[in-house]
């Protein structure tokens, strides 16, 4: 029986190891903390594996445990809550976007993403990278679906705004970046 439980756990939970670690690396300040929290997530998942309902989404369940473990960790580190304006960018105030994302290097996109406020970055990460549905993200982060929608919407707007700003900077006449990107150098 015990062996079967162990085998079930290893088969189900470790199938998502890479995805969980990838999320951890994106939301933790350093690699060591990410690995520590991933390890703690798996230990807690194992301890409460009896409560996991077979057939439900194991990945979302692991993510939920991870974000709980991370929130405990952050409390233990006595971090200050993140403060940001919810009116950061509105759709109507966005400049008209004419650039396509192929105008940017992957590094620039990564950088713009990394600069998003944490709450929004996590929502975008779980939706656009990990492909979770709104309901699943809500469960993982323990927030209402409406909050997920709001965070996603604002996070994506900010990302677009950052890239638009970057484009307007590099579109200045004679910009080396512009010419490089457009294959003129």
């Amino acid at each position: 029986m015990a062996t079967s439980r162990k085998e079930d756990f290893d088969r189900l939970a470790f199938a998502h190891f890479r995805e969980l670690r990838r999320v951890a690396l994106r939301v933790c300040e350093d690699r060591e903390t990410a690995d520590d929290l991933v390890q703690e997530t798996y230990l807690r998942a194992w301890r409460s594996f009896d409560k996991f309902e077979p057939g439900t989404n194991c990945r979302a369940w692991l993510f939920r445990i991870f974000f709980y473990v991370r929130s405990e960790y952050r409390k233990s580190q006595a971090r200050q809550p993140l403060v940001f304006s919810l009116d950061y960018v509105k759709e109507s105030t966005l400049p008209t976007q004419t650039n396509t994302s192929s105008d940017f290097t992957l590094e620039e996109i990564k950088q713009a993403f990394a600069e998003l406020p944490e709450l929004f970055r996590i929502a975008v990460l779980l939706s656009d990278i990990e492909g979770l549905k709104y309901r699943e993200i809500a469960e993982v982060l323990n927030v209402p679906v409406g909050t997920v929608m709001s965070r996603l919407s604002r996070g994506r707007r900010m990302l677009r705004a950052k890239l638009t700003t970057l484009a307007s900077r590099s579109d200045e006449p004679g910009s080396v970046e512009t010419r490089k990107k457009r294959g003129r150098i």
């Binding site: 015990a2 670690r21 798996y42 230990l43 194992w46 994302s101």
Partner: protein, 289 residues
């Protein structure tokens, strides 16, 4: 088609791309995109940005694959440890009670009789008279457990990569590599990083020679601890299961040398490594002011 129509569509475009709209709303967005080139272009831009973002964030180098595997092995070993005691918990209260009594008796013998073998070695080693034997045993045991979980998990063909190790040690501990100055002689440094075990955080160097693995751990004990410069530092040598631990406590840091070598050999290696490591810690403390 008015500006307000486009504005409304832009507001719901992300939900449409996420397939989170109701069927009717979905259809109205589809209809609009079919007839409005600007919104259709915006939809394409957003889709493309998502693809590029995914590409940017999922692009991993070879090092990351290695670290993934390593991290996975560590998690697996931590789980194996976790599962051990749980199995024994199922064998029944009677056996459990008997085990507890036995463990208590063994514990008394362990603390009292001298599994903590304080080995004086000429003038370089002092007996740890001022240190609590129980404390030594507890912290040394954690160092050994981390040695087993972490250092022994590296495959035999694991090779040293200066850049990877410097990154993993963080700028604070990266200077430890030149500080140890190629010691211990004839051992290969294969890895260095920051790791943790039971809430203890260590800077960890791993050496190998002829199938033996040696760990050097530096643990920050009390950042406000006073360096014990007024009197000689005590090296304590303890044994735990099949492993030997030589350790020294500076007041602010603890240093451990852990291996499966005979105790005399482990102590000799510690004697090579401790002066250099202590020098490094001294500089660290000077930098911290």
């Amino acid at each position: 088609m008015g500006e307000s129509d486009c504005q409304n569509i832009r507001e719901t475009l992300d939900l449409y791309l996420d397939s989170e709209l109701l069927v009717e709303t979905n259809q109205s967005v589809l209809d609009h995109l079919g007839s409005c080139r600007r919104c259709a272009a915006e939809s394409e831009r957003r889709t493309e940005l998502r693809c590029r973002l995914k590409e940017a964030l999922t692009l991993e180098d070879d090092d990351e694959h290695e670290r993934d595997d390593l991290s996975r092995r560590r998690v697996q070993m931590a789980l194996d440890r976790e599962r051990g005691p749980r199995r024994s918990a199922r064998i029944g209260w009677t056996v459990l009670a008997a085990s507890l009594i036995l463990a208590f008796a063994l514990g008394l013998a362990y603390w009292g009789i001298g599994n903590i073998s304080k080995q004086a070695n000429s003038s370089e080693v002092n007996t740890p008279s001022s240190r609590s034997a129980i404390l030594i045993a507890a912290v040394d045991r954690d160092a050994v457990e981390n040695h087993k979980v972490c250092a022994l998990s590296y495959p035999p063909d694991w090779t040293f990569d200066q850049q990877r190790v410097e990154r993993a040690l963080t700028p604070r501990f990266a200077p430890l590599i030149p500080a140890i100055d190629g010691k211990p002689a004839s051992y290969d440094l294969i890895e260095g990083h920051i790791c943790s075990y039971q809430q203890r955080k260590y800077a960890h160097l791993i050496f190998r020679r002829h199938g033996h693995t040696l760990s050097v751990f530096i643990e920050q004990d009390d950042p406000r601890g006073k360096p014990k410069s007024s009197r000689p530092l005590e090296i304590a040598q303890t044994s735990y299961t099949a492993y030997q631990v030589a350790s020294v406590d500076t007041g602010s840091h603890r240093i451990f040398v852990v291996s499966d070598l005979p105790s005399v050999e482990n102590l000799a290696l510690a004697n090579q490594l401790f002066p250099l490591t202590l020098g490094f810690i001294h500089k660290l403390e000077l930098r911290a002011g």
